[in-house]
């Protein structure tokens, strides 16, 4: 963590970071107490508990109320140390041996002390000792493990990450028990001092990828990291893109599956959302269910998802282009009824589409933030307003309502919210293009997006792989989900360093 403190000379930057408190502890207990008190001035939740070891040696226990297990402090620390049986001239080493705890570390500087106190580990300081002991007694209120609401599945594990880093790590470890699951810890945030962990599997993940992730994380200098989104924006490849370049998930099974494909998982303390890198466009269309349900069904559903993704981006523009530029494309009977339906609509198709799509987005956003009971009301009002009243008032045509409804449903078929919202956003510029130049505009919009996606990279991996650049054998897990007995190799771009994930020829066959 001290890396953060080293200021690079070339950086002319007003940001100070944290002041240097990297002083060694003093051997005088009173002085130590004084300094700690000055550091924690105004922090009423810090508790200083002076006591005498064996009734002789002066000692001090510092911890923050509510972060540590006070019962344990009383029974495992204070009780053995204050008993009269202890040798009078005891050293810190000896004291630690008496404490009935498994997790004790030695601290030497004030900064160490502060770190530990903030993390909930009480610090034990003794007279005439230039070091202290950090007792692993952190304990605070945690949310219990629940099913992640943003990524619910029909079939699959129901547990989701929680806000506590330690719990999250344990969940990963429970899935992948191999010692090859390695984690690198760093602290980011000069004030929040948040623990960030890079998890990867040694022997599968590319070493240069791990180094790159670590490098990018190390460059982050920020006050606080309250959610993994902070980090995401600071380490992604193209900051001007609406498309997410890291996958966020709440599910340990998704994180583990990605680890097994050679990707790196970044866990951030204080949020259930972990980041996965590198990812491609198609990663956002792989729902966890895909791998648990039968492959045929998963494949069909995945193709449907991609198809509806196109619908959600292009349908409103197609409507605009066809109804105000290329009327000859519509079958005659449909055109005649379209003409009747649009007869009294005062707006051009583009304005009509824009109004409806914006109202739809507003309804979606409004419904998202409200409590569940109110949210239902919003959706009812929205449905009535959009579906009925607007049509009856002659503001929009019923066809437009159908288009908006289909677009809305289609956009929710993208399993990842971050990708879905990006796709929903880009349909507005395409609608404008379609309103200016019809299908020509629409296809130019498509080209623009495609070129942008071709240019995107996520930690060096082309975003549109495996279709551009085309990697034929990777198609097995892009448009379709091949059966497990065919998924013998890991994805090429991330898993080529340990190519095979299972024995070949495992297709169940009758015995000959």
């Amino acid at each position: 963590m001290f890396r953060i403190l080293k200021k690079r000379p070339q950086k002319q930057h007003p940001y100070e970071g944290r002041s240097n408190r990297n002083l060694p502890l003093s051997s005088e207990l009173d002085k130590n107490l004084q300094i700690l008190k000055s550091i924690y001035m105004g922090c009423i939740d810090v508790i200083y508990h002076p006591f005498l070891i064996a009734g002789k040696t002066k000692a001090l226990l510092v911890y923050i109320d509510g972060l540590s297990d006070t019962e344990q402090i009383d029974s495992s620390v204070l009780a053995p140390l204050m008993s009269k049986t202890i040798d009078k001239s005891i050293t810190l080493q000896g004291t630690c041996e008496k404490i009935q705890l498994s997790n004790i570390r030695v601290v030497k500087t004030y900064d160490d002390c502060i770190m530990n106190i903030s993390n909930g580990n009480p610090i034990l300081l003794m007279e005439h000792e230039e070091q202290g002991a950090a007792l692993g007694l952190a304990k605070w209120e945690k949310r219990s493990i629940k099913e992640p609401e943003s990524e619910s599945v029909i079939r699959g594990p129901r547990e989701g990450f929680v806000e506590t880093l330690g719990v999250n790590i344990s969940m990963l470890r429970r899935k992948i028990r191999s010692p090859n699951l390695k984690m690198k810890k760093m602290n980011i945030g000069s004030y929040s001092n948040t623990s960030v962990i890079i998890a990867y599997i040694e022997g599968i993940a590319n070493q240069s990828l791990i180094d790159e992730v670590q490098n990018r994380l190390q460059k982050v200098e920020i006050d606080s990291v309250l959610e993994s989104g902070y980090i995401e924006e600071l380490i992604e490849d193209n900051v001007f893109s609406p498309f997410p370049q890291l996958l966020d998930t709440e599910r340990p099974d998704v994180a583990s599956a990605n680890l097994m494909e050679g990707r790196v998982v970044i866990l951030v303390d204080g949020t259930p959302f972990v980041l996965i890198a590198p990812v491609s466009f198609f990663s956002f269309f792989q729902a966890p269910d895909d791998y648990y349900q039968r492959y045929l069904i998963s494949s069909v559903i995945r193709i449907m998802r991609l198809f509806f993704m196109l619908i959600s981006v292009f349908l409103p523009s197609l409507y605009v282009a066809v109804s105000s530029f290329h009327q000859e494309m519509v079958p005659t009977i449909l055109l005649l009824s379209m003409a009747s339906l649009r007869e009294s609509v005062p707006f051009t198709a583009l304005i009509e589409a824009l109004i409806m799509e914006i109202v739809f987005e507003a309804l979606r956003e409004a419904g998202l933030r409200l409590p569940k009971q109110v949210g239902a009301a919003v959706s009812i009002v929205g449905a009535l307003v959009i579906g009925q009243a607007a049509v009856q008032a002659g503001l929009v045509s019923p066809l437009m309502v159908i288009v908006v409804a289909i677009t809305g449903i289609a956009s929710f078929m993208v399993p990842r919210y971050s990708e879905g919202i990006a796709l929903r956003l880009i349909r507005f510029p395409i609608m404008m293009l379609a309103g200016t130049m019809g299908l020509h505009g629409l296809v130019l919009g498509f080209i623009g997006i495609a070129i942008h996606l071709c240019k995107l990279r996520s930690f060096g991996v082309p975003y549109l792989s495996p279709i551009a650049p085309t990697i034929g054998r990777e198609m097995k897990d892009a448009f379709i989900r091949s059966p497990w007995w065919m998924l013998n190799t890991r994805p090429h771009l991330t898993g080529r360093f340990n190519k095979y994930r299972q024995a070949p020829n495992q297709q169940p066959k009758p015995k000959k």
Partner: protein
């Protein structure tokens, strides 16, 4: 190297396919139809010979100077002064071709999709999109063509199937009624288009797998040949002798697709897909122009000149032809000589000179790298 990107031979083949085919599909059936009528399917077969020859010549040159494009290695062959002049010729040619393609594109879009939209809007919007890809370098071009070309090829079999009930194969009879001469005349236009395979000389230095360069160029040419022959057959099956009397026979063919009452009038959709191929063609020529200029002027980076050249090619596109008739006349009478001269004859001369020079230096003094 001005572009650090690397592409595969397969990606290059995908770029070359629409580079030849995208505009050939518009103009070639009409032009060949004028000369050979119902034998127009045979014209591309003859014409493609030139394409294979050009690809071979450029590959041979590439083998001799593996890391350079024609603009760069010509100085090893004919000396720095002459090579600068030759390079200038080529750059002007590319500039002219960009304008030519854009003009054709805007004419076609103007007729079929957007009759009232000003040409500058159509050209400008495409050029902006093309420059977007070019700033990404050759890698992005390769990926974009991997994305677009499959979508671009897809409609050909689909609409052939949809037209099946209207086809009359007997329309091709009698074969070669008026002898071979009209066929030779008719193959003049396709061979000009086929010689556009020259563009591989700009891409060969970027190949990850240069040994496959020739193979994939040939595959690409063969695919173009196949597509052109099948489309010429299709239009002949449909229209017989009438083919030559339509401005864009393939477009006319698409217009009569009607499958049940619902799947009809698909031409706008198919043009939309065609735009993807035309876009690759424009981008490839535009890229050749920009990269060639950077190489000719020894610039360290080509990106800063992308937009200025975009403006220039837009202007060329607007100035080149007053109307579509003029462009057709040009394509019929001048294009078949002009293009192959630049793209086939000149590289062949270069190859011959290079061969003689290497032989001479071999004789006089054993291996010496030219120190120009």
């Amino acid at each position: 190297m001005h572009d650090k990107g690397k592409i595969t031979a397969y990606q290059m083949a995908l770029m070359i396919y629409p580079t030849i085919y995208a505009t050939a599909v518009l103009m070639v059936p009409e032009i060949t139809g004028q000369y050979v009528g119902r034998d127009s399917w045979a014209a591309p077969i003859l014409g493609s010979l030139n394409g294979f020859f050009t690809a071979y010549v450029l590959y041979k040159l590439h083998k001799m100077y593996p890391n350079e494009s024609l603009i760069q290695y010509s100085k090893h062959i004919i000396g720095p002064f002459l090579s600068k002049i030759l390079g200038l010729f080529y750059l002007f040619f590319f500039l002219y071709m960009c304008g030519f393609i854009l003009k054709e594109y805007s004419f076609f879009i103007g007729i079929s999709l957007l009759p009232k939209t000003p040409m500058i809007a159509i050209i400008g919007s495409v050029v902006i999109m093309a420059s977007l890809a070019i700033t990404g370098g050759v890698e992005i071009l390769g990926r974009a063509s991997q994305l677009f070309v499959p979508i671009f090829i897809l409609p050909i079999p689909i609409f052939t199937i949809m037209l099946l009930k209207d086809l009359d194969p007997k329309n091709v009879l009698p074969i070669l009624e008026h002898g071979l001469l009209p066929l030779l005349q008719g193959s003049a236009a396709p061979q000009a288009w086929f010689s556009e395979v020259f563009l591989i000389s700009m891409f060969l230095p970027f190949l990850k797998d240069p040994e496959k360069g020739l193979k994939w160029s040939f595959i690409s040419l063969f695919a173009v040949l196949l597509s052109l022959v099948s489309l010429n057959l299709l239009t002949t099956f449909l229209f017989g002798e009438m083919t030559a009397s339509y401005t864009f026979p393939v477009f006319k063919a698409v217009r009569i697709i009607s499958l049940s009452d619902f799947f009809e009038h698909l031409e706008a959709g198919i043009i939309t897909i065609w735009i993807l191929g035309a876009y690759i063609k424009i981008t490839v020529f535009y890229y050749a122009l920009v990269l060639g200029t950077a190489q000719w002027l020894n610039l360290s980076d080509f990106k800063p000149i992308v937009l200025p050249f975009g403006l220039l090619i837009s202007l060329f596109a607007i100035w080149e032809f007053a109307n579509l008739q003029e462009q057709f006349e040009f394509s019929k009478f001048i294009f078949p000589f002009y293009v192959p001269f630049m793209l086939t004859v000149l590289p062949t001369i270069l190859l011959i000179i290079a061969k003689i020079r290497t032989r001479n230096t071999m004789k006089k003094e054993p291996p010496r790298i030219s120190n120009y």
